[in-house]
């Protein structure tokens, strides 16, 4: 009887060892911190890089966030290998760091097709999304008297971060807004709710009405030309010129066709 018990225990012990984690390897570790907007793009680029011929088995990546300011500060102090920023260089930023542009991103405010509004000023956007203005009767051109339903993104969203920085400035988005997990869900919510308003990447305007911001329509052409103001650059920042695997990663992101395909899927590519 004890012999069969030992065999059972041995088989399950072997199975448990198979499940146990593998030993750590000796690859260089690339730490990335900074913008919460760039992070979703980087999170997609890293696995593609590690699968590519240039990047296979070259390094382990650790991705942190914290915001653009944290990224710039961390990389200046040498705490991380790459800092990410979704804002441009400020005069208060430390010297000795190199800013490598990797993509651009456009954000559009959108309403239901039945809503008469066609353009919003920056003050109007801030009032609506912060909850100061709660009824469509207070928004010129809407033709409605119903209450406004806000659709925003969850905390992890880069679009939410862009919206906060590009449109809201110092004001905070109302906490009664419904937090949806994707551009597609926001698009669908606005499509089915006549009182809805939200923001999406310019890819996701099918079936809903993208609003002009300060008079300029939200289109890819306007984003590329710079006429539409709510477009920001994505930067990967290094301390001095990038070297080694870091350099090949950034070069791969900027030039490789596979990387540009990933960028073009939701952002404005560089070329």
């Amino acid at each position: 009887m004890s012999r069969s018990r030992i065999t059972v225990a041995a088989v399950s012990a072997v199975a448990a060892m198979v499940v146990a984690p593998a030993a750590a390897s000796a690859k260089p570790i690339i730490t990335i911190s900074g913008s919460t907007s760039v992070a979703p793009l980087t999170a997609k680029l890293i696995p593609a890089f590690l699968k590519s011929s240039v990047g296979k088995n070259k390094a382990t990546f650790k991705l942190y966030q914290g915001g653009s300011d944290i990224g710039v500060a961390d990389v200046s102090a040498g705490r991380v290998t790459i800092g990410e920023a979704s804002r441009d260089l400020k005069s208060s930023d430390a010297g000795g760091i190199v800013w490598n542009k990797i993509a651009r991103d456009a954000v559009c405010v959108a309403v239901n097709n039945g809503n008469g509004v066609s353009t919003l000023s920056s003050a109007q956007v801030q009032d609506i999304f912060s909850g100061t203005v709660r009824n469509w009767s207070d928004v010129t051109g809407s033709g409605k008297t119903t209450s406004i339903n806000l659709y925003v993104r969850t905390a992890a969203s880069g679009t939410q971060d862009a919206f906060q920085k590009l449109f809201m400035g110092a004001k905070t988005v109302s906490s009664s807004a419904a937090q949806k997990a994707s551009n597609g869900l926001i698009q669908n919510s606005i499509k089915t709710d006549p009182n809805g308003i939200g923001y999406v990447s310019f890819d996701f305007l099918g079936g809903i009405k993208g609003l002009s911001y300060q008079g300029v329509p939200c289109t890819l052409t306007n984003a590329k030309s710079g006429a539409y103001s709510a477009v920001r650059n994505f930067w990967m920042i290094t301390r001095g010129a990038p070297t080694g695997v870091t350099a090949s990663f950034i070069r791969w992101v900027q030039n490789d066709k596979a990387a540009q395909k990933i960028v073009a899927a939701g952002w404005v590519p560089l070329v």
Partner: protein, 326 residues
């Protein structure tokens, strides 16, 4: 030892089956340990107040997500009471309504339906039980939520609460309706099977004593199938607690605790249970403290499922002497 060939192959079968079941236990234990290890920092930083209230849970999640890279400065503060309350509400209400509806439906299927209806209804119920929950979620956001938001909720009601929460249709009511529709077919199938397993002699004895068919079903068959009803309720509750995608789409996407004192508006208020919160925030896993908070919610769901199974077993114990199937 002098064993025959048959006895030897029997022992081989015993050993391999024992090894397989040990492997399943090892996998479950490994999964629970992994989730608990990942979740521990979130629980240890907040203590029991992790389940308490205080502040807006969505703002707290955003603050955790925006933690700086320095591990000493990671923010873990969270009070998930609105999410806990939403999970409990949606599960308890759906399972409650579901048990009543499915018991009555099973009584109809087993006893009162004409044969032609029985032939149609039974396979259809089993088919419904197999529909993926994403389908229900899509029907919810494409059909039910706009209908409720645009036709059932009046402008006056929306304007009355506009400074607290927005009533857009995605709400507790829609979530409960769809969840009940989702969990009822499984319950009907289990309970109907249990009803059919009641010995005919018991039913015939009751009829012989003068009871009509409804009384026979209610006092003999349903009473003896109570352990099966509890088992069905436990399975349905486990499915309701873990339902992530469908609830993420139709329940309102705000960490808000619906207030029963609001009267009818309570049914239209948005909320978001644990599984839906995990689904909505899974893309933030790469930020360590945020990932640990999400794992903490997953640990709560795991624990709740374990307790449900245990509770179900305990509830069936006193019914052992009445029940036909346990």
């Amino acid at each position: 030892m002098n064993e025959s060939a048959a006895a030897r192959s029997e022992r081989r079968a015993e050993r391999s089956l024992g090894a397989l079941s040990s492997l399943v236990l090892v996998l479950i234990a490994a999964m629970c340990t992994f989730v608990l290890l990942k979740a521990w920092p979130s629980f240890s930083h907040n203590g029991p107040m992790w389940f308490g209230w205080g502040g807006n849970v969505d703002d707290q999640l955003t603050a955790i997500f925006n933690s700086p890279a320095n591990p000493a400065k990671w923010d873990y503060t969270i009070r998930t009471w609105p999410i806990l309350y939403a999970t409990a509400l949606v599960t308890i209400i759906s399972v409650g309504i579901g048990i009543v509806v499915s018991t009555l439906a099973a009584v109809f299927i087993v006893e009162f339906a004409p044969d032609s209806a029985k032939r149609v209804v039974s396979p259809v119920i089993r088919l419904l039980a197999a529909v993926p929950s994403v389908i229900y979620g899509l029907i919810g956001i494409l059909v039910l939520v706009p209908f409720v938001g645009n036709h059932l909720i009046s402008e006056g009601r929306k304007n009355a609460v506009t400074f607290v929460v927005q009533l857009s249709g995605a709400s507790l009511g829609v979530a409960v309706v769809i969840l009940t529709i989702m969990i009822t077919p499984i319950m009907v199938a289990i309970i109907a099977d249990a009803f059919r397993a009641v010995p005919n002699g018991w039913k015939e004895g009751a009829i012989a004593l003068g009871a009509n068919r409804w009384r026979v079903m209610w006092t003999v068959v349903v009473r003896s199938a109570r352990p099966a009803i509890i088992a069905a309720a436990v399975i349905a509750a486990a499915r309701a607690i873990g339902e992530g995608i469908m609830l993420a789409m139709v329940s309102g996407s705000v960490g808000f605790a619906p207030n029963p004192m609001d009267g009818i508006t309570f049914v239209f208020e948005p909320m978001r249970p644990y599984a839906a919160t995990i689904v909505d925030n899974a893309e933030g896993l790469s930020v360590k403290p945020f990932g640990q908070t999400i794992y903490a919610m997953a640990a709560v769901l795991l624990f709740a499922s374990l307790m449900l199974s245990l509770g179900g077993n305990l509830a069936k114990r006193p019914l052992r002497k009445y029940g036909v199937r346990l």
